[in-house]
């Protein structure tokens, strides 16, 4: 593939690529430097990329102005639960659909995949009514509940497990292994890359949730950080630099997860082209 544009202009190409990358990274760098900037430096006629005076106190100040420790704690609990839920149930369902032949299996696959057209934005009102009936309005389980399984994750796991030779499973059965043991000892160890992708996507998607928590939570105790951050931004007394500090802090967990899973992700990401 290197052929079709490779030539003497390799250096030029590299520069162009670097420029392209800069377009994508500059806003992120802006976020980080602004979070260390003095409040009055915002919206001057030039951007000071390296603060002349660093203000790390923006971070504790911002955390102290609203209940951000609590909001972040809520977000971590919800996202961890959603991640675990997806890892468990998407694996089970994906495995069941990939390696077991039972009547109606195709129909169930179709039924599950069809829910891709029913994102929470579409079913917002009735899902809220379901949660209301369950008595889960204003609770963390109310936020996490509808997110616990995502059809995309099931699809991802099924596609991956399809490639594992069925002979392995049959051989284990001959040796007397139970179905759960086969899943645990033979299937799962081979699924590492795809599990890494699933974990990252599930965590990030629930970490990003805004509309759903906004609909289902009205009490401060159960707010997640996106709600807190938006509310924080709407209060005019709060300096934008401190909003950026919270934004940086909010980026860190997903970033750490990304770093942690990076090696597995590298081999796993090619398969995940179904969702952004």
């Amino acid at each position: 593939m290197r052929q079709w544009l490779a030539g003497p202009s390799a250096l030029l190409g590299l520069l162009a690529l670097a420029a392209l990358t800069a377009v994508f990274i500059l806003p992120i760098i802006w976020m980080v430097t602004t979070s260390f900037q003095a409040g009055e430096k915002m919206f001057q006629l030039t951007t000071e990329w390296i603060p002349s005076v660093w203000h790390p106190e923006n971070y504790p100040n911002a955390m102290g102005r609203a209940a951000f420790p609590l909001f972040f704690r809520n977000s971590v609990i919800v996202s961890a639960a959603v991640m675990v839920g997806n890892l468990v149930f998407c694996t089970l369902a994906g495995y069941g659909l990939a390696k077991y032949r039972f009547p109606g299996a195709k129909l169930l696959l179709l039924l599950i995949l069809s829910t891709l057209m029913l994102p929470l934005e579409v079913t917002l009102v009735p899902t809220f009514l379901v949660i209301h009936k369950l008595g889960w309005v204003n609770s963390l389980q109310g936020i996490a509940g509808p997110l616990l399984i995502d059809a995309f994750g099931v699809f991802l796991m099924r596609q991956f497990i399809l490639k594992i030779p069925t002979d392995y499973l049959e051989a284990a059965r001959i040796d007397g292994a139970g179905e759960l043991r086969i899943l645990w000892k033979i299937v799962l160890p081979q699924c590492r890359p795809v599990l890494a992708v699933l974990a990252l996507l599930a965590f990030r998607d629930s970490w990003d949730q805004f509309l759903w928590p906004l609909a289902v939570v009205s009490h401060d105790d159960y707010r997640t950080y996106p709600l807190g951050l938006v509310r924080f931004g709407e209060d005019y007394g709060n300096p934008p630099t401190e909003q950026m500090a919270i934004a940086v802090l909010a980026t860190i967990p997903v970033f750490l997860l990304f770093l942690l899973l990076q090696r597995a992700l590298r081999s796993g990401f090619g398969l995940s082209g179904l969702k952004g």
């Binding site: 593939m1 052929q3 079709w4 544009l5 490779a6 590299l14 690529l17 392209l20 994508f24 990274i25 806003p27 001057q44 006629l45 951007t47 089970l92 369902a93 069941g96 390696k99 077991y100 032949r101 039972f102 169930l108 599950i112 069809s114 057209m117 029913l118 934005e121 579409v122 079913t123 917002l124 009102v125 009735p126 899902t127 809220f128 009514l129 379901v130 209301h132 399984i149 594992i164 002979d167 049959e170 051989a171 284990a172 179905e179 990030r204 990003d208 805004f210 509309l211 906004l214 951050l229 934008p240 934004a247 909010a250 980026t251 997903v254 970033f255 090619g270 995940s272 082209g273 952004g276």
Partner: protein, 313 residues
């Protein structure tokens, strides 16, 4: 691929196909059903149930205080006369079209650019992918500042002789600005998808074409593009589905303004249902958004079914 200790693939395949006693096979099948069942039940409760409920509610007037009152197609009829709804519907379609086209084009462009450079390539890839890791709330807040009349975008443009643009308060630029943020956020993700597609094209094709004297552009047009078609189509559908459900970007960057120029259907659903407590009317808007999402989902399923057949063949 790892293997089972003490058994080679060869010895295993020699034993297959296996003839299990019937009750044993049934028990295994039941395990399969058991694995899938929790997920199916979950979706019945949290997806299909709510959707049916929404369809029912869309024929009622409901404020969560009194019981729903049947009003027939009144919600739909009044929506069709409501300029705010029509504007939101058009905005949603424009947004879907704009985001999808540019996400696909930019994603492909980035993939091509990155695919050819050895040095620094992984770093660039990781750097661009950061836009996908940043929380959407953070993305929206950052870009709201960047688009500020005195913000970074205008600072960069002003030496080029562009006058001050009020990006977010001018109805001509607000929607393009939001589409721009969307592309910034999602194009690097689809770049990864395109890269996987590019890697799947055998090198030999290019070598053979080069021997036949095909130039760079010719090779791109005759090899890369056609072989990338399935991936491209896939990206288009997924990006469209993704854009159909957008909420936070317009909500946070422009608040749906100016003058409703960036209000999309998901925002209207939220406002109608949760600010005005008109659940029946909100449900009717949901059904419209559902219809849009369904079109893309059906296309996606068709693609999926075709891939399955190819794989089976």
């Amino acid at each position: 691929m790892s293997s089972i200790p003490g058994a080679t693939a060869r010895s295993l395949s020699a034993r297959a196909p296996l003839r299990w006693p019937l009750h044993y096979r049934l028990r295994i099948q039941l395990w399969g059903v058991g694995f899938v069942l929790p997920t199916v039940l979950f979706f019945l409760v949290f997806k299909y149930g709510p959707m049916l409920w929404a369809m029912g509610l869309s024929f009622t007037s409901y404020d969560m205080m009194k019981t729903p009152r049947f009003v027939g197609v009144e919600n739909y009829a009044s929506l069709s006369r409501d300029p705010i709804f029509i504007q939101a519907l058009l905005n949603t379609l424009v947004y879907i079209a704009g985001s999808t086209v540019f996400i696909t084009a930019v994603g492909l462009g980035l993939a091509l650019a990155i695919n050819n450079r050895g040095r620094g390539r992984r770093l660039c890839l990781a750097g661009m992918f950061l836009t996908n890791i940043m929380p959407i709330v953070a993305v929206c807040l950052v870009w709201r500042f960047l688009f500020h009349p005195h913000g970074l975008i205008n600072q960069i443009l002003s030496p080029l002789g562009v006058g001050r643009i009020d990006w977010l308060t001018d109805s001509a630029t607000a929607m393009p600005a939001i589409i721009g943020v969307t592309v910034w956020r999602f194009a690097p993700y689809f770049m990864v998808v395109f890269l996987a597609g590019l890697l799947a094209i055998p090198r030999e094709y290019y070598e053979a074409a080069a021997i036949d004297g095909a130039g760079v552009l010719r090779r791109f047009r005759s090899i890369t593009l056609p072989l990338l078609m399935p991936v491209t189509f896939f990206v288009v559908v997924v990006a469209a589905l993704l854009s159909a459900r957008i909420f936070l970007m317009p909500f946070l960057i422009t608040g749906g303004g100016p003058g409703g120029a960036t209000r999309v259907l998901s925002m209207l659903i939220y406002e109608t249902g949760f600010s005005y407590m008109k659940m029946g009317r909100a449900a009717a808007i949901s059904v419209v958004l559902f219809a849009i999402a369904m079109v893309f989902t059906i296309i996606q399923m068709r693609l999926f079914a075709r891939n399955e057949e190819d794989a089976a063949a």
